[in-house]
């Protein structure tokens, strides 16, 4: 599962590739998009709080 937090948008009209955030904001594509192969384990309600 990816940890990319944005959508990659290929715009064939403007000839650009950029990132779209969850709020719809458009950001320039960084030199490289890094993807993690699986998510960090989700914190559970029963997990003890760190000291």
């Amino acid at each position: 599962v990816t940890q990319v937090t944005d959508t990659i948008r290929f715009d064939f009209i403007e000839r650009t590739v950029d990132l779209i955030t969850a709020t719809g904001e458009r950001k320039p594509l960084p030199g490289r998009v890094e993807i993690a192969s699986s998510p960090a384990p989700a914190k559970r309600r029963s997990d003890p709080e760190p000291d």
Binding site: V1, T2, F10, F12, I13, S37
Partner: protein
């Protein structure tokens, strides 16, 4: 790195844990009121790679083909890197999901496809269909 699978969807939302909430899986029909029109499709793209390719940069290339198999504009690409996470067991294949949108101008109705390719690997084709439904006269 290879494309394991890809499919169109109506909406794709990234959740806080890095997974995707997807609605309208395999929504492969797009309706336009007139031609030409600007449309946007959303795709879930699943990448996979052997662990030996962790951290290596690769190119994800995308193009759109129309019903005549002509490219709608020339291909676009993004540089990417697939990294193992702390919970990936050693030796396991790396897998990553990427939400992708493509915005382009449709000039003709009929079958189209999004062509995706990682590096020099095989092209992965995602078919979809454009239908023109004019607005009824009032």
């Amino acid at each position: 790195v290879r494309i394991d699978y890809a499919f169109p969807a109506r909406t794709i939302e990234m959740l806080r844990d890095g997974s995707l909430a997807v609605m309208g899986v395999e929504t492969s029909g797009l309706t336009v009121r007139s031609l030409p029109s600007v449309v946007q499709i959303s795709l879930v793209v699943a990448l996979a790679a052997p662990p030996t390719e962790a951290g290596q940069e690769f190119e994800l290339r995308a193009s759109i083909l129309d019903a005549a198999l002509d490219e709608v504009g020339s291909p676009l690409s993004a540089m990417m890197q697939l990294n193992p996470s702390p919970v990936t067991p050693e030796g396991w294949e790396l897998r990553g999901l990427v939400p992708v949108r493509a915005r382009f101008e449709v000039r003709s109705a009929g079958p189209h496809s999004a062509e995706l390719r990682c590096g020099e690997g095989r092209s992965y084709s995602v078919p979809f269909f454009i239908t023109e439904v004019p607005t009824p006269a009032t």
